[in-house]
Symmetry: C2
Subunit: 233 residues, 2 copies
DNA sequence: AAGCAAGAAAATATCGATTTTATTTAAGTT
DNA sequence: AACTTAAATAAAATCGATATTTTCTTGCTT
């Protein structure tokens, strides 16, 4: 009874599908057949369709009129745009957070960082495992809660989730960054709590851009410089 | 044959409903009965439901599990948050736009401003008419196109659309601001094209906050200071 | 052999009906 | 009279089936 029973069928499929998507269970750009998914979850097309529509609104899948849905195709161009948007928005919100956050916010950041730092980084068949991802997500969210702006927080979260789709281009990337990442997180947390806004912003910017750089390097090594990248592995 | 025939039924209902919502055709917080809307548009529940789901993703309506959908309820609290988010994001994107926009961007801004300035401000029974709204939307969009960031542009647009829901709290507000608004737009356009980033940002900030201030003043006059505001007139 | 056209197959979008859940109404109890 | 409970009503969520549209296949033409 620990798990939350979703109020509606559609909600459940939406959540499951979302988790699969963010976990890298589908290839970017691949077609999502409604009937197959419906059968797999034991529900009708209507509920799959509703879940898909919601996911499309978040940018995790794309709706192709009269042609169903596909996982959002990835491209270097979009990755660059996404990174730019994330840096701009997450840093702005972090500044606000540092400026306005109180003691409770500090505590939240420290707690979230402690949890993250103590959670082992595991992968299941190349896909990010649950625990670390959850802790990572919570940490980044905690950084922004001081701003006390539900709108900005959810925009930042949505962009971060979108960028998760890119993380699965390569398993190696995740591993390469493992050590750096822990230090980066600690750095961000310390600067934020110390109210060093510009320092924290710089650290967060580097954190975001470093992952993108690694992804770009990997993409280029696979497809050659300047090429659009379709699908992983 | 000038109008675009939507590829799918759902798309059409979505667009129509969206226009109605932004035009202030429904009272904020009011319930949207699926059956009624389906009958009105001559379509099945499925397509209304899909349209609603999309609108919920944009924040124009709210999904209440097992209880259908309602127009997003408005509150002073959310208006303040929304305004803050808009100022933060629109100004950031405007800065980028001014920094990166080329001659073509300048021309677009000037053209959009000219169109806006030459479009009469009409209201149909207290609701914003089509032409001016379209021109206004196009102007604000043009300001941001120089940034060449589809993501940031669409986020800014989405927030601006949300704030349109608030514009219908009072007919008078629209009228009161009429004269100022034209000057404000001219001011923003001139500063942007003159590459005065900080000046343009300041002008845009004032522009956004002025409307909010008027709305808050109206809201308070109707419901008393410090109270949450539910529904208009 | 390559390109095109017609037909078959598959998948989507939409519908109408059923099931489930919420809301209202009415009756019975304290 | 207020409160609770139970039935009736209304609405939403889901389903299974139909109608369209796209995609694939096959055969024909150049």
């Amino acid at each position: 009874m620990t798990a939350i029973e979703p109020k509606t069928h559609s909600e459940g499929v939406y959540a499951s599908l979302r988790a699969e998507l963010l976990g890298g269970a589908f290839l970017p750009g691949s077609k999502l057949r409604l009937a197959g998914i419906g059968t797999r979850y034991g529900v009708s097309l209507s509920v799959v369709r509703e879940a898909m529509t919601r996911l499309a609104g978040e940018g995790l899948v794309r709706a192709l009129p009269q042609r169903g849905f596909c996982v959002t195709p990835l491209s270097v161009e979009d990755l660059l745009d996404l990174t730019r948007a994330r840096v701009l928005i997450e840093t702005s919100v972090l500044r606000e957070s540092i400026g306005q956050g109180g003691l409770e916010w500090e505590s939240e950041v420290i707690a979230a960082h402690h949890t993250l730092q103590g959670t082992p980084y595991t992968t299941h068949e190349g896909h990010l495992g649950g625990d670390w991802s959850v802790a990572h997500h919570a940490f980044h969210r905690a950084l922004l809660t001081g701003a006390k702006s539900p709108r900005l927080e959810s925009i930042a979260t949505e962009l971060r989730d979108c960028s998760l789709l890119y993380q699965h281009w390569s398993i190696e990337i995740a591993h390469d960054l493992d050590r750096d990442v822990a230090a980066e997180h600690r750095n961000i947390a310390e600067l934020a709590v110390a109210r060093d806004a510009e320092g924290a912003v710089k650290a967060l910017t580097d954190h975001i851009e470093r992952t993108t750089a690694a992804l770009l390097a990997y993409a280029e090594s696979k497809t050659g410089p300047g090429r659009a990248v379709g699908i992983s592995a």
